[in-house]
């Protein structure tokens, strides 16, 4: 993807930046009901990037979809650039949450899904993307257990490139008891799309394995 190379030339976290590309493209091209014109619509689908490091692919996809000018990609991390090495929702159109410190996105996603439900946006979907190493932050497990207990229909996507230092017995799905689970090839866009379209009356986990 041309736009991605435009932004990754000298950026840190390059492997993690590329790991998310196919999932992000499928989300914004095929699944999410959101456009630059509806970026502030209260009923828009929500995508929260919890794994805020390595946002190059995220920025490239948002630029390709017209949320901000492609020229912004040339100066990531610069003093005059809205694009940091971790995204800031206040500075970037289309970005739902500012992240960087790991373990915040899933809790915010649970609150977002609850807020949408309480206001009657029953068809609005909430997605959150995490890294497999990010799951080592204990705050995620507070959210995982609670979302399952209240059968909250949000979708967590975990990019699994086996970067967690100690791993987890039984693999990533074992960390999500009572969630619906799909494990897909993180490079197969059709398989990713099929898994993201599934809606259940409980939270769903999509593991995008690389």
């Amino acid at each position: 993807m041309k736009l991605l190379s435009r932004v990754t030339a000298d950026v840190k976290h390059s492997p993690s930046a590329h790991s998310t590309l196919d999932v992000l493209w499928v989300l914004y091209d095929r699944v999410l009901r959101i456009t630059p014109e509806t970026a502030d619509d209260p009923g828009r689908d929500r995508f929260l990037l919890s794994k805020g490091h390595g946002p190059a692919a995220y920025y490239a996809v948002l630029a390709a979809k017209g949320f901000f000018p492609e020229e912004w990609l040339d100066d990531m991390g610069g003093w005059d650039s809205p694009l940091g090495h971790h995204p800031d929702r206040v500075l970037i159109p289309g970005v739902e949450i500012g992240t960087g410190s790991l373990g915040h996105g899933l809790g915010l996603a649970v609150g977002t899904a609850l807020g949408l439900r309480a206001q009657g946006y029953l068809d609005t979907r909430t997605f959150v993307l995490l890294g497999d190493a990010e799951l080592d932050e204990g705050s995620n497990h507070e959210a995982i257990a609670y979302a399952a207990a209240i059968r909250l229909p949000l979708t967590a996507i975990v990019i699994d490139n086996r970067s967690s230092t100690h791993g987890w017995p039984g693999g990533i799905p074992a960390r999500f008891p009572n969630w619906g689970v799909s494990v897909v090839n993180g490079r197969d866009r059709d398989e990713i799309e099929r898994s993201l379209r599934i809606v259940e009356d409980r939270p769903r986990l999509v593991v995008a394995a690389l």
């Binding site: 915040h104 809790g107 915010l108 807020g115």
Partner: protein, 290 residues
């Protein structure tokens, strides 16, 4: 104060569909009725304080007005990074309501006490801090907080003054010489300690933002004493900033840093920290003698 919080918050939840309450088991039983009426907006996440803050941030991101509640050490100290990143960094707000204060839970021990909550929020931008001194001050604070989207902390205590003084800003209650400022429930002990001293006594139940203009105009001499029910010196930097350019001497009284490894009651802890009337009088007299 806790009863007023429960009654007022219940009424707010019944009246305003934009509001939500997020609990982490503490006080959950007191909200059973309103939770049955509004199960989508009264949420008990269990003993998960990081999630309580995250859920609050997420609710606010969708346009709701979340109230969060627990003991001060669990609400503020434990989830500090969530408070830092899930609210201000996302450009959203919430109403955080704590109980327990510095040592209301004296017999529970240090784990259930927070003396640093206000100081921790002082490291962050844009938090209004209410430290009411009387139950009748609580309802108006909560109702006002429900009407906007700013970041508000309400620190409730079982220590209460005999009279209420509603409204933000500095209330000058007695005119005299050097200024003694009492924050929240420290007013009654300050009034008793200074009964026959020639001092000006002022009260605030809203230490943040500090009423700088009120403080400057209440100065009668070059001496000021600030008595706070949380960590000693928490407001020292703001008082110093407010009075910069005015020659002055200051004394800051509050809860000491050293852990008091004793149980007993909050009265025992007040005495141990010199915050009972006798202790306050000793400190204030010594300061005024120069």
């Amino acid at each position: 104060m806790r009863d007023t919080f429960i009654a007022t918050t219940t009424a707010i939840l019944d009246e305003d569909p934009r509001t939500a309450l997020v609990l982490a088991d503490i006080s959950a039983g007191s909200f059973d009725g309103v939770q049955r009426r509004h199960p989508d907006r009264v949420l008990n996440v269990g003993i998960r304080e990081q999630l309580m803050a995250g859920v609050g941030g997420g609710l606010a991101l969708t346009g709701m007005r979340p109230f969060l509640h627990s003991y001060a050490p669990f609400l503020i100290d434990r989830a500090y990074e969530q408070i830092k990143l899930d609210f201000a960094h996302q450009d959203v707000g919430a109403v955080l309501v704590s109980i327990g204060a510095s040592y209301d839970a004296a017999a529970e021990g240090y784990t259930h006490q927070s003396t640093g909550d206000v100081a921790l929020l002082d490291t962050l931008d844009g938090w209004t801090v209410h430290v009411p001194g009387h139950p009748e001050e609580v309802a108006a604070i909560l109702r006002d907080a429900a009407r906007h989207d700013d970041r508000v902390y309400v620190r409730l205590s079982t220590q209460e003054n005999s009279r209420s003084h509603p409204g933000a800003g500095l209330h000058v209650l007695r005119q005299g010489g050097p200024l003694v400022v009492a924050v929240g429930p420290m007013l009654d002990p300050v009034l008793e300690a200074t009964r026959d001293l020639d001092v000006t006594v002022a009260y605030t139940g809203t230490p943040r933002p500090l009423d700088a203009a009120g403080l400057r105009s209440a100065m009668r001499t070059g001496e000021i004493v600030v008595v706070e029910p949380y960590a000693k010196g928490t407001s020292a930097h703001l008082v110093s900033e407010t009075l910069s350019g005015l020659p002055h001497r200051s004394l800051h009284l509050g809860v000491g840093r050293a852990e008091v490894r004793r149980y007993g009651s909050r009265h025992d802890h007040a005495r141990a920290h010199g915050l009972d009337p006798a202790g306050l009088r000793r400190s204030i007299e010594a300061f005024l003698r120069g």
